[in-house]
């Protein structure tokens, strides 16, 4: 899996979804965690329609060890999709060996994907935790464990600093839930690769 190797070149991340899902905030958190706490270079550009809610929207983050000269994402290494529209629009731009992360209840991927494909019912998990709007934080936790593009500690600190006051604990809970889900997914894949499906 490519996630183990340190990125030699800049890592381009594209997060897409509806307006109102917290896509831009998610991008901000990733960028802040990478630059302020992981001490790397990062940029964020965002694009959103005029609608406050419901329109397509995306956040583009680049994380690099060296100075970033061009802040737009052209061929993402990691594509996070929280809406079908975002997926349809950007799926083709993903690099061949890139990582695709989707909310499995909101996005129907075109074809079966290989080892770079990860799915999580982020919105459903957030609903179970009591607040649907935390779906972005859940998917960030998942993103953190499966891609290791940023460290979990940096993400946790940034999450608690970035969310509205009083919701820090709930959001950290949501982050951890997604993070655990990612670890479990990786563990399950590893077990399957070893030929262990069930208890025996």
């Amino acid at each position: 899996m490519n996630r183990k190797t340190e990125p030699a070149s800049p890592k381009e991340i594209l997060i897409t979804g509806f307006g109102g899902q917290g896509i831009v905030l998610a991008g901000q958190i990733v960028g802040k965690a990478a630059s302020l706490l992981d001490k790397k270079e990062s940029t964020l550009t965002q694009s959103y329609g005029p609608e406050a809610r419901g329109g397509a929207c995306s956040a583009q983050v680049i994380i690099s060890d060296r100075t970033i000269h061009y802040p737009y994402v052209r061929r993402p290494d990691i594509l996070v999709c929280m809406s079908q529209g975002g997926y349809d629009r950007f799926a083709d731009t993903l690099k061949g060996d890139g990582t695709l992360i989707i909310d499995q209840d909101l996005v129907q991927p075109a074809a079966a994907r290989g080892s770079g494909f990860f799915a999580i019912p982020a919105t459903r998990i957030a609903e179970e935790l009591g607040r649907r709007m935390m779906a972005n934080i859940v998917i960030l936790g998942f993103f953190t464990s499966v891609t290791e593009a940023v460290t979990a500690d940096a993400m946790r600190r940034t999450v608690s600093e970035s969310v509205p006051r009083g919701t820090g604990e709930a959001n950290i809970g949501a982050f951890n839930k997604g993070y655990e889900f990612g670890l479990a997914t990786l563990k399950g894949r590893q077990k399957k690769a070893e030929g262990k499906k069930g208890v025996r």
Binding site: I120, A184, K187, K191, G198, V199
Partner: protein, 527 residues
Amino acid sequence: MNDLKIVLFICNWGPHAAFQMLQDSCRHMPHQVRMIRIPCSGRMSRALLFKAFETGADGVALVGCEPGSCRYGSGTGIAERNVQDTRGILELLGLGKDRLRLATFLPEQSEALLEFLQQFHADVERMGKSPVIPVPKTQPGESGRDLAARILTSHDIYACQDCGKCSSACPMSLCGKPFSPRAMAGSIIGGNIGSASVVSDVWSCLTCGICYDRCPSAVDFPRFIRDMRQVHRRAGTAGQEAHEGFFQALMRTMTSPDLDIRHWDWLPEDIQVDGQSKTLFFGGCAPYFDTFFGRTLGVKTCDILIDSLRLLNFFDIFPALLPGERCCGHDLLWTGDRDSFIRLARLNVDAIEERGIEEVVTSCPECYRTLAIDYPEHGIPISFKVTHIFDLAEKEIDKGAIGFEKLNRTLTFQDPCRLARLGGPGELPRKLISRLKPRGFEEMRDRGNSALCCGNCAWTGCDSYTKALQVKRLRQARETGSNLLVTACPKCQIHLRCAMEDPFLGDEIRMEMMDLTSIVARTIRWE
């Protein structure tokens, strides 16, 4: 006094004549052998055989008639089965099966009998004294009346308003037994501690806790009964122990600290355990149950332990095991033998803490309640966390990426009292069931808080009314149209299986059963 104690149970008919022949001809027999004449070797139940060891015998020989020469026909065959089962128990306890032996002789085989006795004596001598220390009879310290008064106050039985909600919900009353919790409470308050009806009622309560659940004054009836049994035990008004008190005797035997118990010797090799782990799996008495009931009921409660361990391994948890694990003491506590319970609890807690265990996982609802609630409540603090395996599994499954294989069965669920009402994680079984992929899941008419007991508790008070209760429960299970009865306690399986043996009802109440842990373990998959 360090002499060996060897008991020789000898059948009145054939071999006793041989024994008399030895006596008449003044042959030298090992003087440690004490002969007890019995009517038939087949009448020596497993409880009677075991009781000899509980009370300090180093060796027991059961001598009967040669097969085919039994006066009653089937005696020798029954003796063989009883001895085999009891030997299995002795082996688990680490006493060694060879301390109990069965032999058969014809009346004229006195020489062979002498040779057998000498050989057995030599064998027992080689094995040495039994490490079992007989439990002294409970001393009636505090008077029964004082103790009863204290129990009445501490459980606030005076709060009973005589409203009758308990009697209208009590599964025993509903099965027609002349039994009423509030009437009993009233009698005891009135000072009739030792009257025949009170004694009988105290020992026939199932302690299932429905009355407590319904009581508007929150009178904790199960705990009250539990403590009243202490009063009666001290007064010598013995309980109605099932299986002739075999299990209570077994548990009392386990209070001997020097026993080299071999609780886990039978474990399959593919199970990974780690002696250094800070997580311990506490199995419970399943190996004893299977040895005792395996032949007659065909129950395999050890499968629950195997599946629990496989499930833990699936989650990458490799727990420690106590090789000399003892019974948690639940059944002793609930049949009034508090002193032995405390001895067992100390031994268990010491053994667990000696290993620096931080978390104890168990799949038995009774072990769970006893370790987590009753140990601290009886002055034995615990430094570890007690987790029911359902709790652990739910948390692990909830992390995600775990699914279940389809199960082509329709399920229904028998709630164990200790989970549904008395301190356990009551909602968890259903949460786990909802994660499974069975063909269907149908609840029984009485379920959850209102679930009917499997009919017995702590091996006491088994009678025709409890049987009626079990049949009623199984009929409810069949009514759902399900074809797999899911249980969560090894005892539910044993008791309900026993009821299914009814020769008249037969297929009407028969149903396959499986523990929830086993179903989870056998269908769980990485997604």
